[in-house]
Structure formats: structure tokens, C-alpha cells
Symmetry: C2
Subunit: 337 residues, 2 copies
DNA sequence: TTGAAAGCGCTAACAG
DNA sequence: CTGTTAGCGCTTTCAA
């Protein structure tokens, strides 16, 4: 394995100069730099990240902690982040919790990240006070995506407003019995979105003077299967809702499925709206409130990179816009036959 | 930042002993180990991976190269691999090519991986001869998932057989005009599956004595959008096929959509079958040939870990089983009205 | 613009 | 069972 010494010997210079030349530092003559570059290419020299990291204190690696890569939403954020990181020569260390509490514990509590990464990106997880404590002890830039955490650098949408938009869309169409599919507001994979969306839903009903029915709020676990399960119950009720607002497109897709199983037509018998604009949403003709998923990953990555390059960088809270996308799963309620 | 020296000083032992105790090596008295453990916990000591890597030559990190994490199929493989790696204390470095040729070039050609990882997992990409050359120069275990690469450690399904199973299912139902949706058999995101599946399709037709129609073979790019596009053409033909076999579920989902747009009923007017058993497949009632996606990731990770622990480990070719899953998008062809 | 020297924090022989 | 001694391959002062 060829090392920096081999290159130094080859160009008859010190390793210090070779190092400087290779990293593009100034104070190296053009001629020397050219010779170093040529030599290291010829010798097939590749610097050792371990050695560089040990000596410099930077690993040029960023940790990305994500609830579950198999969900399109999270994967899309990761992809956005990966692009930006790669463009800047940073590597991405993926920690996929996959609903495993012990995995979560290991990543956060055992300080797995210490001395290992230059920055941390936390996606769609609401760190516990304890975990936040650990994160801040890292002394490294941290950006949290999808959660509202005052004092921390965050990137998210206005979840309350997104939910309100969806609910208002249904209200405007004339619906009054509107079911809600959300998820646990506490737990291993918690983030602040579920509670904010629930509040947005309730708030809109209230503002419209529509009675709130606790029995129309169900837990869809933010998955297709969960949405299917919860919708079956909701739609099998004698006083079933004329519309369902699912706080995520995956749950909405579950709802579409439940409706079909029960022989209900969408949107004639029941309107369905989601949030996200999932990649599959258009194939289901799903009306939804879109959010810039990929972009959130990009912005988050850009944020920690900026922090890395700027001593007195202050945490920023970035809120990205959402937009109502009307497709064909929502319409005016039909008179019940 | 507390280092191993601090712990050594605290327990009044050498750093070597502390290192041994912490790594669980034998030849350390129980009492010493206990004291070291207690001390490092109390002092909040966390070893530096850079230093350990530099000294030992192992980074306890594995690179995972994937075409596109946002596709469920790839994300599921990654998740499988991540689980196994994490269980063994390895970190996962994610390289998401996302159709970007320059990204691919950088990862493979510029020896990004050298000195950075202990092993490499390549998912659903067929490395070029040049890339294989680089990979073997790494001198590290490499496992390739989803491609048939003699001489290399691989994990995959029998793509030819999976395609044949799907085609035979349609033939058995009585279909004779069977469209095929595949993808480029060369290109940035190539792997060997597309050609093997196409061959499986053609072979089955031939064996059944059914005429092959080149005009019924289309490129669906292995995506929903591509499948939709290609199916629109196929299904708009006056002599449209009575069934379509899509070489991936995502393309099959695109086909379902195209059928709906054209006012064709599935399966009455056109039968549709895919391959994968995508997480969404059951919600579309899609008949498919399932493959153990998650498991392929697990096996691949287990394979490189085994290689890492065994000097004279030989590359193995693992082939995982597939199974026909009949749902409701396939049936006997109807007499054309 | 370049070099010498001193680590970074750990592991790996080799002794004892 | 434990310690000593060398590094691993870079980066970073400090000089020149």
C-alpha cells in the first residue's frame, strides 16, 4: 500500500509538502504541486482517512440517523443529503433504526458517534432530552429534520399548517364528518409531526365550527398496513366519515385499499387526502399536501456543512413550503342513499 | 476528549492492558477488566476509530454501493445488510449513485474505498471489467448482490427462472400474446438481471411454442413511470397483448395505471404480473414472483463478515428462492369482443 | 516555499 | 497477566 512517504521520496520533497500540495493548501509552488499530483497518480497513492482523521481531528464523514430507510420518505431525505455531502467530499454513515429500540439506544447512548463523525443529521426522529444532551456533548454540528426543536438547527415543514390545509380542503368541499389517521405522539420513532398534524386537523374543524369526534381519530402508524387497519374500522362504522384525512400518504394508500375492500367508491363514497406527495401518490390519483422531501435532505446537509466551515455559526430553523395537490380522491360528499 | 491514556492512568495500568480489556481480548484478569470497564464508563471514554483503524488496519466499516436508495427494493437490501453489520459492530458507509455516472466513477475509479473500508457490498449493479479490476485491487472482501459474476461472491435469485415462472403462469392461463417490460441490458445502472429475465421470458414462449413478437417487448426502465410509458404504447396497439409480464413490480404498477387510463379492466382485459413482491404489491392485488429482498442484504453482509474472519475464505455464489404469488391481476384471457 | 520534528490515539509484537 | 516499545500514516507547528 503506497503511502505519503513513497510520494515524498519520489518527488524528493518532505511529506509535509506532499500533504499540502495534495490538499490544495496555498504556499506550494505550482511546479511542486504538479509534480506531486503526477507522482501520486502514477504511484496510485490514496491517502488514509484514518491517518488523516487522527492527525487532523476531522473524519470528513457525517452520520445520518433515520427511522427506516425502506420508507420512501426517509430514503428520499437520505438521498438528498447524500448528494450534497458527496459533492463536498463527505462520506455518509447510515444508522437505520428500523424500529429497534436497542439500535436507537446504541447509536445515541453509547456515543457511537463520538470521534467518528464531523456532524450528525437526525431525520424524522424527536430525540429525547437525554439524547439531546448526548448530541450536544458531541460538540459537533447537528441538524434535525422533521421536528420542531427550539434551540437546535432544524429543517421541516409547517406540519400544523399542512394538516390544516388538508382539513380545510375537505371542509371546503362540504365534508363535516372527517376521519383522521395519525400516529403515536410518543415512542421509539417519534417526531413532532404527528402531534402538530393532529392539532392542525382539530384546529381547522374547530375554526369551521364542526364538531370534533374522538372516535374518528385513529392510529395508522404512518404505514400503509396501519392505515389499512385503522381505515377498515373507521369505514365500517354505521356513521362512517364522508372523508378521511391521513397524516401521511402511505396511510392514505392504506385507506384507499380499505375502501375498495369494503366496496366503497373513492371519492364518491369517501374522500381521501394525505400528506407528502409520495412517489406513488400520483399513481393512486391521491390528493395530498406535498412537501419537498428530497430538498429537506439537501438543506439539512448543507446546513451542517456550513456549520463545519464557520466558527460562529448559529443554529437556524428552516421551514420549507407545502402545497395542496388536488387529484382525484377528493370531491363533494354525496347524499347518503 | 478523554483518551485511553486517561483510563490507563486512572486504573494505574498500561494503555495496552486497557486496550485489551476494552476489546474483550483474553489474557486480562477479571478484576482488571472490571476496573477498566468501570473507569472508562466513569470517565466517559470512547475509543477513536481513526486511531484504532490506523493502528490495526481495520476500520470496522463496510461500504454499500447502491443504485438508488429511494427505490424500495434497494432500500430493503440496505436495511437487511445494515442489521447484520450493526449486530456485528460494523458501520455502514452508503454510496448512492442515483443514476449519476460521475458519482459512480468517483466511487469506483478514484479508489475512494481504499484504506476506508474493510469490505464492500455492491447492490444491483454490474461492475464493468474495469471496476471489477479496481475492486479486486482493494484486496478486501466484496459481495455483489443481484448480478451473476462468476468468480465473485454473489447473492441473487435465479432471474431466468423467476421470469420463466411468471411467463409460464400467463401461458398456463391461456395467454398467447404476452407483452414484456424490461430494461436496458447495458448502462450506468446495469446489472445482469434484465438480460436474464428477458431470456427467461423468451425461453418460456419458445418452449410453449408461442410466437415471439419483438414489438411486444418494451423498455420500462424498471420504474413506475417507465412502466407506465411503455405500457401505454403496448396497450394502445390494435393487436394489444392480453397479458403483460413486467420484470419488476414497479413497472407492473405503471402498467396497472396505464390500463386504467385506457379504460381497460385488469385482469379481464389484460393480465399483469411482476417480479419482486414489492411492499406495495399486495395493495395493488398484484400477482408477482416474490424474491427475498431483505434477506439478500442480510446474506450479503454475513458473507463479507465471514470472509473478514476467515483467512482462506472462498467466494460463494448464493442463490435464494423465488415463489409465484398469485393475487388478482391475472386470469384467463377473455374472448375479445 | 519547504523541511524537521512532534505528535494524533491507538494496537501489536515481544518481553517478562 | 501485564508492560515496553514501536509504529500505523498522516497533519501541524515552528524554523529556515
Amino acid at each position: 500500500m503506497t503511502s505519503i512517504k513513497d510520494v515524498a521520496r519520489d518527488v524528493e520533497m518532505s511529506t509535509a509538502t506532499v500533504s499540502r500540495a495534495l490538499r490544495g493548501l496555498q504556499g506550494v509552488s505550482d511546479e511542486t504541486r504538479a509534480r506531486v499530483l503526477e507522482s501520486s497518480r502514477r504511484l496510485g497513492y490514496v491517502p488514509s482517512p484514518s491517518a488523516a482523521g487522527l492527525a487532523s481531528g476531522h473524519t470528513r464523514t457525517v452520520a445520518v440517523i433515520v427511522p427506516r430507510v425502506t420508507q420512501w420518505f426517509f430514503a428520499a431525505i437520505v438521498q438528498g443529503a447524500e448528494e450534497v455531502l458527496r459533492e463536498h467530499g463527505y462520506d455518509l454513515l447510515l444508522y437505520n433504526l428500523a424500529g429497534d429500540a436497542s439500535a436507537r439506544h446504541r447509536v445515541f447512548e453509547t456515543s457511537l458517534l463520538t470521534k467518528r463523525v464531523d456532524a450528525v443529521l437526525v431525520f424524522s426522529l424527536k430525540p429525547s432530552p437525554d439524547e439531546l444532551e448526548r448530541l450536544s456533548h458531541l460538540g459537533r454540528p447537528v441538524t434535525i429534520v422533521g421536528a420542531d426543536m427550539p434551540g437546535w438547527a432544524t429543517v421541516r415543514i409547517d406540519d400544523h399548517e399542512a394538516a390544516a390545509t388538508a382539513t380545510r380542503h375537505l371542509l371546503d368541499l362540504g365534508h363535516e364528518r372527517i376521519g383522521y389517521l395519525g400516529g403515536a405522539t410518543e415512542g421509539v420513532l417519534d417526531f413532532t409531526a404527528p402531534s402538530a398534524r393532529l392539532a392542525g386537523y382539530r384546529g381547522s374543524l374547530e375554526q369551521a365550527g364542526v364538531a370534533q369526534c374522538p372516535e374518528l381519530e385513529a392510529d395508522g402508524e404512518f404505514t400503509v398496513a396501519g392505515g389499512l387497519r385503522a381505515s377498515r374500522d373507521l369505514l365500517a362504522r354505521p356513521d362512517r366519515p364522508t372523508a378521511i384525512f391521513a397524516a401521511s400518504d402511505e396511510m392514505a394508500i392504506g385507506t384507499l385499499r380499505a375502501a375498495r375492500e369494503l366496496g366503497l367508491r373513492v371519492p364518491e363514497d369517501v374522500s381521501v387526502i394525505g400528506i407528502d406527495d409520495h412517489e406513488m401518490a400520483s399513481y393512486f390519483d391521491l390528493t395530498t399536501v406535498s412537501q419537498p422531501v428530497h430538498e429537506q435532505g439537501r438543506v439539512a446537509a448543507a446546513q451542517v456543512l456550513a456549520a463545519l466551515g464557520d466558527e460562529d455559526w448559529r443554529p437556524e430553523q428552516v421551514i420549507l413550503p407545502t402545497e395542496l395537490v388536488v387529484r382525484r380522491t377528493t370531491s363533494r360528499p354525496q347524499a347518503r342513499t
